[in-house]
């Protein structure tokens, strides 16, 4: 029989104030199999750990139960401790008497009884624990970065600069994302394109980065260190290596469609380059708009293309690659202002969103940086900015705070005033959230130097009246209803995950939250890792964030990838569900329930086999298996039943005693 040691932690007063630790130790000493029990104020401290190691050696312990906090915090600590003392780390289990006992109870007597019960169950489990060794798999030291906005660009550069190969995939014709559209950036007012384009160029020239624009991830399989990814390369109808960006093709193209880069405020041709600094610097033929292909009616671009770069017969291509880690940097879109019915009902041209206004401010924009309103091109003299338009609204919009709108609105109002000195900017706000380095000062500067008028209150309705846009709101500080007859209204609508994020998440088998943003493992301690191993998150696809935060998170994700790549194999938790072949009937029920595709049916042998590295130990198969062949290691049916028996033993005994009393 195994020799078991029980160690009870006080956790200062966290446990000891509610649980009588001394009584727990005395009780534990009497459990069958327990040869040693003692307590200590902080087991996780160095002396605490040394105490456990000494006890393992002195009492020749085979297994250890550490009764302390939740295993999600200190299980690695204590497993390492017993490993140093010569035990297999999986012979150490934690009994959680803090979160599941002392923190949630008040009565010391009852809490102590409960702690004893919890430990007794865990002792029964650990008696039957096997020695396990982690599963290893090879590691492909190449990263996939999905999305090439500023976050994706930063992550790709950081990984590549550490010497690893990067595959950077972007679905639109150029990299750069929304940051390329912005005019100037808060709080320093440096030109967005000027600080972004050097990074874009670096990406395109980097020998370790393979850039795939106009491409989408269509499938991904495999596991940490070994992902097989399929990428669809959409036909550009232009040979990138031949195109010299002369632009002759675009000049002759007869088709005119709205320009996405200018948020529809200008037009482009069917053959186009999104913006002058686009990377790669090659034209793209938008086949949905082109007249030329069916039938070959136009062909004007092909006739003028000197390097003969245009190929109407280009086909979509599927590229397959193996990568070891994936950085998901899919970015954001803005919540559509058409959906905010009380704000113009989506039919008023002079009600625009923040990105529209960025294009109006931008020197490379449709108005060359002169602020002109979309309806008639007039320079607006009264502009109303509405913050939280669709955010912080639990009933009809998004409940969350979009975080960056306070700052970009302050910037918008300031830049507007710089460009239209006789104009007036009004901002309706709920709170001004200017947390960040230099942010509050920036906002104050707008108020003091540029005369931005801040009105605290929500806007109830915005509508067109003649050539004016009327804004109804309230000033809750003055307690008055306000009507502003404006020339232009800019709605700070919230950031939402970019279109297609949820579909991509499904393909990658990573998790999204209730608002569709990519989920991190832990909001504080593991903020850049996805719950699925091998996936890292960067940028506004995870939550609304501004440029510095997106860049910081991208670098963090990259460093996680680099630290993963610093070893040669990946280790996988051995607590997986195997197959006891003698009991397996080959029914295949477990294959269907496995969410990780870790189980396969060998049809010839009528047995299920497990791809161990894919198994996450969720236990779905163990619950589904009708014969008990799918047993999770160190959580077998036998262990679970013995834990239940041990836990209920004391509760059952008095009943039996009562029964026998009655019989008497």
């Amino acid at each position: 029989m195994k020799r078991i040691g029980v160690f009870v932690c006080w956790c200062g007063s966290n446990i000891a104030s509610t649980v009588d630790v001394g009584r727990v130790v005395e009780a534990a000493k009497r459990f069958p199999g327990v040869v040693h029990a003692e307590d200590y104020k902080y087991l996780c401290s160095d002396p605490g750990q040394n105490m456990i190691q000494k006890a393992v050696r002195d009492h020749k312990l085979d297994a250890v139960v550490v009764s302390a906090c939740t295993p999600s915090l200190h299980e690695p600590t204590f497993r390492k401790t017993v490993e140093i003392a010569g035990l297999n780390p999986y012979q150490c289990e934690m009994a959680n008497i803090r979160e599941q006992c002392s923190w949630v109870h008040e009565d010391k007597q009852d809490a102590t009884d409960k702690a004893i019960t919890i430990i007794r169950g865990m002792v029964e489990k650990v008696k039957r624990n096997e020695d396990l060794i982690p599963i290893t798999a090879p590691l492909h030291k190449k990263a996939l970065v999905v999305g090439a906005g500023v976050a994706g660009i930063q992550a790709a550069l950081d990984i590549a600069n550490s010497g690893y190969e990067v595959l950077l995939v972007e679905r639109s014709p150029s990299i750069g994302g929304h940051m390329a559209q912005l005019s100037e950036t808060f709080p320093t007012l440096d030109c967005s394109q000027c600080i972004l384009t050097p990074k874009m160029v670096e990406v395109s020239r980097h020998p370790k980065i393979r850039l795939m624009t106009y491409s989408e991830v269509i499938d991904l399989s495999g596991f940490l260190g070994n992902f097989n990814v399929k990428i669809l390369k959409k036909p550009r109808y232009i040979k990138e290596d031949l195109c010299n960006s002369c632009g002759e093709c675009s000049k002759v193209c007869p088709v005119v469609v709205p320009n996405e880069f200018d948020e529809g405020l200008s037009s482009r041709h069917a053959i186009y380059v999104p913006f002058p600094q686009a990377v790669p610097a090659t034209y793209t033929l938008d086949m949905k708009a082109c007249l030329g292909l069916f039938p070959l009616a136009c062909e004007k671009c092909s006739q003028v293309c000197e390097p003969k770069a245009i190929n109407y017969d280009m086909e979509p291509e599927i590229v397959e690659e193996t990568v070891g880690a994936v950085v998901v940097a899919t970015g954001f879109d803005l919540y559509p202002i058409e959906d905010i019915k009380e704000y113009g009902n989506g039919r008023t041209v002079d009600i625009i969103d923040g990105l529209h206004f960025e294009r109006l401010l931008s020197a490379s924009g449709p108005t060359q940086g002169v602020v002109r309103r979309p309806s008639d091109g007039k320079i607006p003299k009264e502009v109303v900015f509405v913050q939280c338009a669709g955010s912080r609204d639990t009933e009809r919009g998004k409940a969350y705070c979009s975080k960056i709108c306070c700052m970009y609105t302050a910037k918008h109002a300031m830049l507007y005033k710089h460009k239209v000195p006789d104009g007036q900017a009004y901002v309706f706000y709920i709170d001004v959230r200017a947390g960040g380095k230099g942010y509050e000062e920036f906002y104050q500067r707008g108020v003091e130097e540029d005369g931005t008028v801040y009105l605290r209150g929500k806007v109830s309705r915005i509508f067109q009246d003649g050539d004016k846009v009327v804004v109804w709101g309230s000033d809750t500080l003055a307690g008055k209803k306000i009507e502003i007859v404006a020339d232009l209204v800019v709605l700070a609508s919230p950031m939402v995950p970019s279109e297609g994020t949820s579909e991509l998440a499904r393909k990658l088998k990573i998790q999204i939250d209730a608002n569709g943003f990519l989920s991190e493992v832990h909001p504080k301690l593991r903020p850049v890792e996805s719950i699925t191993a091998g996936f890292y998150l960067a940028g506004a696809g995870q939550a609304p964030k501004d440029i510095p935060e997106a860049v910081a998170q991208a670098s963090a994700a990259a460093s996680k990838v680099v630290s993963l790549f610093s070893t040669d194999v990946v280790y996988h938790d051995p607590m997986i569900a195997g197959v006891e072949e003698d009991s397996c009937s080959g029914c295949g029920v477990c294959v269907g329930v496995c969410p990780f595709k870790a189980r396969e049916l060998d049809v010839d042998r009528k047995k299920v086999k497990v791809i161990e590295v894919l198994c996450e130990g969720c236990g779905a198969c163990s619950a589904a298996c009708p014969t008990g062949a799918a047993q999770q290691r160190n959580l077998t049916d036998e262990q679970l039943i013995s834990m239940v028996d041990a836990t209920l033993a004391e509760k059952l005994q008095p009943l039996e005693a009562q029964g026998s009393e009655k019989a008497r």
Binding site: K341, E342, N345, R347, R461, F463, Q464, D465, V470
Partner: protein, 305 residues
């Protein structure tokens, strides 16, 4: 085809033109609106007291009676629609309440009646396209603004009528029958509602009736009406008798306070529908007798036979 109909008290008194025009237009479109048996007042306002089941007794009794004629009941008064639909929502989402009420009123009701506003009926049962085909008179010269008020729209979760901020159902019907419908951002602004029956101390002391222009009602109505006039509307079109009363009767007092104010007639959408379908306008109270601002002039001037 016969279908259950709940007119409500107001349609038998003040809003007689609304009642007649609903029944006659339905007939032209091939439906017989049959008044449900033994109907009473719906309660006029939906009680906001959550645990007061007494206030639900009258509307549930009406619904139970409506069930005798079928699973649908049509109503056109915005107030009745609001009360009946919310009462139905309340009891279908709380079976205990339903049991208590049905035991009290000694009637069997399972919550299986759908309350339809006449606009919903025209859109879903008849179809606006079919209504459009039946139009006999040209209303093309008539510029109208639809006014929805609040009772049909809110609370949206319970009523599910149309977008509460930007409803379009009446706009679409009026377009279907040939009117020129103007964009009207004030279509869901408050008309002052029940404040119209409040009498302030001063007025009460002088023995006068309520004076809507004195307070909120007059100003609310003025905002809406002035916007309609400035947009060039000939008529304000609505569905709620209370809105009709407020917007119409307040105009005398408004004119005294706002000298540039131009009066505008207020009509029910069903009255216009009756005219469009070729019925005799004179039969549906489009006259001086039933309005403070007489709509007959506009109707006769703008509508060609």
């Amino acid at each position: 085809m016969k279908i259950g109909y709940f007119p409500g008290c107001t349609l038998k008194t003040k809003a007689i033109g609304l009642d007649d025009s609903v029944k006659d237009t339905a007939r032209v479109l091939g439906y017989e609106l049959e008044e449900i048996p033994d109907w009473t007042c719906c309660g006029a306002t939906f009680s906001l007291v959550q645990d007061n089941v007494m206030a639900l007794a009258a509307p549930v009794r009406i619904l139970a009676n409506a069930r005798k004629l079928g699973t649908k009941v049509v109503t056109v008064c915005a107030g009745c629609y609001n009360v009946l639909k919310r009462a139905n929502y309340a009891v279908t989402h709380d079976r205990e309440k339903l049991k208590k009420i049905t035991e009290f009123i000694e009637m069997d009701y399972q919550g299986d009646v759908t309350v339809l506003h006449y606009l919903e009926f025209l859109r879903d049962e008849v179809g606006f396209d079919k209504v459009s085909k039946q139009v006999k008179r040209d209303l093309g010269n008539l510029k109208v603004v639809p006014y929805y008020g609040c009772q049909m729209l809110r609370p949206h979760e319970e009523l599910q009528f149309d977008d509460p901020e930007s409803p379009m159902m009446m706009d679409n019907l009026l377009e279907a029958i040939g009117c020129e419908v103007l964009d009207f951002p004030h279509k869901v602004e408050c008309c002052g509602a029940f404040l119209t029956v409040c009498t302030d101390l001063e007025t009460r002391a002088s023995g006068g009736a309520s004076d809507p222009a004195r307070g909120a009602v007059g100003e609310c109505s003025y905002t809406i009406l002035d916007a309609a006039v400035r947009r060039g509307a000939d008529l304000v079109v609505l569905s709620c008798p209370l809105c009709q009363y407020n917007l119409d009767s307040a105009q005398e007092a408004i004119a005294k306070r706002h000298y540039s104010f131009k009066q505008i007639p207020i009509v029910y959408f069903t009255q216009l529908l009756a005219v469009a379908l070729g019925l005799d306008a004179a039969k549906y109270a489009l006259d001086r007798e039933h309005h403070y601002v007489d709509p007959s002039g506009v109707v006769s001037a703008k509508i060609t036979a």
